[in-house]
C-alpha cells in the first residue's frame, strides 16, 4: 500500500524524446490508467515506475521513499505483462511460487530436493499462499498445468496470480487484456475492477483502448507524444476534455469536429449555425466538437443541418448514422435510437440538430476554449434546455 509519485520524469532513446517531464501522483489504492495511442510513451512510463527502464531525468518515489536508483526486484511492485511472460517450463503453481521463493527463501532453502526437506514448514506456508490466491482467482484446477496447456484467458489469470501472490505495494499492468478475444476482454474488465476493489491496492494500468480506461479507472491519464494531456476521472475526461486530441481519442465513435467561427463578441457558430454560446476574446481557426450522442434527428428548419446518409452502423441499442453535410465537405456521425432510424436507409436525406450546450470549442492549438458564463447568447438557452430535457 503506497502512494507513487513521479517528478519531472523524462526519457530519451538516443535522440528520440519519448517522455517530456512527466509529473504524476498516484494515490494509495487508486486505479490509474495510462491511456494513449501506440508510441505515446505510456509503456515506457510504466517501465520506469517498475524500474525496468532508467529515466533520463526526474525521480520516482514509492511510499515516500526515493526509488529512482533502486532495482526492480527491491521496489516490491508486481507487473503483469502483455505477453504474460509466464515461465513455460514451470507449472502454474510453480510460476506463482517463484516470486515467493525468490523473496522469502535463502539460497539453500531454494535448492532442488534439498530445500523442501530442509525448510518443509516454509515451503508448505508458501504453497498455502499459492492455494489461497488460486482460490480467489478460481484457477485451482489449473495449478498443475504448464502455461502451454492453458488458453489465453487462463494464462492471463495465472499471470495475475503470480503478481498477486506476494501482496505487492502496487500492481503494474501493461496491456494485459490486449491478447484476449473481445468477449473475454469485456468480461475481464469487470473482473479486474472488482479485484481492485477487493484488494484495495494501487493499480497502474496501461492500455491503448479508451473503453478499458473509461470503464475501469478511478482516474485516467491521457498521454500523447510523451505528455500527459489530461489527468482526471473518466467522466470528466469524456465530458469535459481539456484538449481536442483528448476529445478525439476518448469516445467511440469519434467526436465530430467542424471548423467554427467566433465573431467580434465571441459568439460562436459553425457552418452558419449559431452555437448559442460565446467565448472570451476572439480566436481564429476554432474547432467545434460535438459528440455523436449530442446530435439528433430533427425536422428541417432553423438550427438543423441537412445532409445525406452515407453509412449506417447498427449496434443493437444504438444506431450511428454517418451523414454527409455541406455537399460532402464534412461528415458527421449522429446517434439515433433504433425506432428513429427504422425508416432511414442509405442515401436518404436527413436533418440533424445539435443538443444545445453540448458543443465544445477548441483553439487552433488544440486547447479547450471555455464558454463565458454571461452574454447575450447564453441568455437564450434556458428554454432550449427544457426542450431537450
Amino acid at each position: 500500500m503506497a502512494t507513487i509519485s513521479l517528478s519531472g520524469i523524462a526519457k530519451s532513446f538516443g535522440d528520440t524524446r519519448v517522455l517530456n517531464t512527466i509529473d504524476l501522483d498516484v494515490e494509495d489504492g487508486e486505479f490509474l490508467t495510462l491511456v494513449g495511442p501506440s508510441g505515446c510513451g505510456k509503456s515506457t512510463l510504466l517501465r520506469i515506475i517498475a524500474g525496468l527502464e532508467a529515466p533520463s531525468g526526474g525521480g520516482v518515489d514509492i511510499g515516500g521513499r526515493d526509488v529512482t536508483a533502486v532495482r526492480p526486484a527491491d521496489r516490491n511492485l508486481a507487473m503483469v505483462f502483455q505477453s504474460y511472460a509466464l515461465y513455460p517450463h514451470l507449472t502454474v503453481a510453480e510460476n506463482m511460487m517463484t516470486p515467493l521463493k525468490l523473496r522469502d527463501l535463502s539460497f539453500w532453502e531454494r535448492f532442488p530436493i534439498l530445500g523442501p526437506v530442509l525448510a518443509r514448514g516454509k515451503h508448505r506456508a508458501l504453497r498455502d499462499q499459492v492455494d489461497e490466491t488460486a482460490g480467489v482467482l478460481k484457477i485451482d484446477p489449473l495449478l498443475d498445468r504448464k502455461p502451454g496447456q492453458l488458453s489465453g484467458g487462463q494464462r492471463q489469470r495465472a499471470a495475475l496470480g503470480r503478481a498477486m501472490v506476494r501482496k505487492p505495494v502496487a500492481f503494474l499492468m501493461d496491456e494485459p487484456l490486449s491478447n484476449l478475444d473481445a468477449a473475454l476482454r469485456v468480461h475481464m474488465r469487470a473482473e479486474l475492477a472488482e479485484l481492485h476493489r477487493a484488494l484495495g491496492t494501487t493499480f497502474i494500468y496501461v492500455t491503448h483502448d479508451q473503453a478499458e480506461a473509461l470503464t475501469m479507472s478511478d482516474r485516467m491519464a491521457v498521454m500523447m507524444h510523451g505528455d500527459i494531456l489530461q489527468l482526471d476521472n473518466p467522466r470528466r475526461v469524456y465530458g469535459d476534455p481539456a484538449d481536442l486530441r483528448v476529445a478525439e481519442f476518448v469516445g467511440s465513435p469519434k467526436i465530430n469536429v467542424l471548423p467554427g467561427d467566433a465573431d467580434s463578441d465571441g459568439r460562436l457558430s459553425f457552418l452558419g449555425l449559431p452555437v448559442k454560446r460565446r467565448i472570451a476574446g476572439s480566436h481564429g481557426g476554432i474547432s467545434i466538437g460535438i459528440r455523436p450522442e449530442h446530435l439528433r434527428l430533427s425536422g428541417a428548419g432553423e438550427g438543423a443541418l441537412s445532409g445525406i446518409v452515407r453509412h449506417v452502423e447498427h449496434l443493437g441499442s444504438d444506431i450511428f448514422l454517418h451523414v454527409d453535410i455541406a455537399d460532402g465537405a464534412h461528415r458527421l456521425v449522429a446517434r439515433a435510437t433504433p425506432a428513429e432510424a427504422e425508416r432511414i436507409s442509405i442515401a436518404d436525406p436527413v436533418n440533424v440538430a445539435q443538443v444545445d450546450g453540448a458543443a465544445m470549442a477548441f483553439a487552433a492549438e488544440g486547447h479547450r476554449l471555455r464558454f463565458s458564463e454571461f452574454g447575450a447568447a447564453s441568455r437564450e438557452t434556458p428554454q432550449m434546455d427544457k426542450a431537450v430535457a
Binding site: 517498475a50 525496468l52 532495482r71 526492480p72 526486484a73 527491491d74 511492485l77 508486481a78 507487473m79 505483462f81 502483455q82 505477453s83 511472460a85 509466464l86 515461465y87 513455460p88 517450463h89 514451470l90 517463484t98 516470486p99 525468490l102 523473496r103 504448464k146 502455461p147 502451454g148 503470480r162
Partner: protein, 306 residues
C-alpha cells in the same frame, strides 16, 4: 471418390534413394559383420558372432572403447560448456560481439586435416611453439608447481607421442575445434528467449545473474542443449581426421588414440578385414542410434514446452 496414386510418385524418389544409399548398405554391413569377407574374395565364410566376440574380448578393442569414450567424455562436456559460456559472454556484449563470434568460429570453418598439421608443428617437442613457450616459464614462480619443475629439469612432455598425454592432446584439439559451433547454436538459442521473461524474473525478485540463469536462460535453452549435446556426441564419436593425420601408423602410442572411426578404417580398408570392420560399424551405429532415440525422448518429454 477416385483414389489417386499421385502420393506414391511424390514420396517414391526419396524412399528409393533412402533404401539404396542408406538402408541397403547398412543391411549389407550387418550381414557382413557375421562373415570373414575380404574385398576381392569370391566368397566368404559364415562365422556367426565371432567378430563381435573378438571386439568384446581382445585388448586392442578394449583400448578402442577406452580411447573413444575418453574422447567423447572429455570433448562433449567441454565443447558444450565452453560453447554456452562463450555464447553467454558474447550475448552480453554490446560492441565487438561480431569480432568474437568470428574468432571463436574460425576453427570450425578451417579444415581439420590442415589444422592438424599446424598443431603438429606447434606441439613438436623441440621446435614447437608450445614447449618453447612453456620453457620460458622455467625459473619463475611456476616452478612451485611440481609438474612444471620436473618438466623443466628433464623435458616438457611429448604431447602427441607420449601415451599418457596423446588422447588428452587430441581431445583438446577436438574441443578447440568444436566449441565454436556449439557457441553459434547457443547464440541462436539465446536470441530467441523473450526479453519479457527476464523482466518478469527481475520483477519476481531474481537479483543475481545465477538466479536469472537458473530461472530463465537454462530452461529456455533446453531444446538447444539437447540438440547441441546430441550433435556433439555424434561428432565426437566420428572423430577421425586428427587421428589419421597425427598417427597414420595406427592409433597413436600404445593404441591410446585408437578411436572407433579409425579402427573401422584400419581394419576394413587398410587390412581388408571387411567382416570385423563391418562389426565395429554396426556397434558404432548402435551408439548413434541410442543417442538419437535419447534425444527424441528428451525433446518430446522434457524440453518441449509449447
Amino acid at each position: 471418390m477416385v483414389r489417386s496414386h499421385a502420393h506414391i510418385w511424390f514420396v517414391a524418389p526419396a524412399i528409393f534413394l533412402m533404401i539404396v544409399i542408406l538402408l541397403v548398405p547398412i543391411g549389407i554391413a550387418a550381414v557382413l559383420s557375421f562373415t570373414d569377407y575380404s574385398l576381392g574374395n569370391p566368397g566368404a565364410e559364415w562365422v556367426g558372432l565371432q567378430n563381435y566376440e573378438r571386439i568384446f574380448t581382445r585388448s586392442t578393442y578394449e583400448k578402442m572403447f577406452i580411447a573413444t569414450f575418453t574422447y567423447v567424455g572429455v570433448v562433449v562436456p567441454l565443447t558444450v560448456g565452453l560453447g554456452l559460456g562463450a555464447a553467454l559472454l558474447i550475448h552480453s556484449l554490446n560492441r565487438f560481439s561480431d569480432i568474437y563470434k568470428t574468432i571463436y568460429f574460425l576453427p570450425v570453418m578451417a579444415a581439420l586435416l590442415a589444422m592438424a598439421i599446424v598443431w603438429e608443428f606447434a606441439l613438436h617437442p623441440t621446435i614447437g611453439i608450445v614447449n618453447s613457450t612453456l620453457a620460458q616459464g622455467c625459473g619463475t614462480f611456476l616452478e612451485n608447481w611440481n609438474w612444471y619443475a620436473r618438466s623443466c629439469e628433464r623435458t616438457f612432455p611429448l604431447w602427441l607421442t607420449d601415451k599418457d598425454y596423446a588422447i588428452w592432446t587430441v581431445a583438446f584439439i577436438g574441443v578447440w575445434q568444436g566449441f565454436g559451433f556449439n557457441m553459434v547454436l547457443y547464440l541462436a538459442g539465446l536470441t530467441s528467449i523473450p526479453r519479457e521473461l527476464y523482466h518478469a524474473a527481475e520483477m519476481d525478485g531474481a537479483r543475481s545473474a545465477w538466479d536469472r540463469f537458473k530461472l530463465v536462460t537454462w530452461p529456455m535453452l533446453g531444446p538447444t542443449t539437447v540438440f547441441v549435446v546430441t550433435i556433439s556426441c555424434i561428432r565426437s564419436f566420428q572423430v577421425f581426421d586428427t587421428v589419421e593425420a597425427f598417427y597414420p601408423q595406427g592409433g597413436g602410442p600404445s593404441k591410446s588414440v585408437y578411436v572407433m572411426m579409425f579402427a573401422i578404417y584400419e581394419k576394413a580398408i587398410q587390412q581388408n578385414l571387411m567382416g570385423i570392420g563391418a562389426a565395429i560399424t554396426i556397434i558404432f551405429l548402435g551408439f548413434v542410434m541410442m543417442l538419437t532415440l535419447l534425444q527424441r525422448w528428451l525433446v518430446e518429454r522434457r524440453v518441449h514446452y509449447a
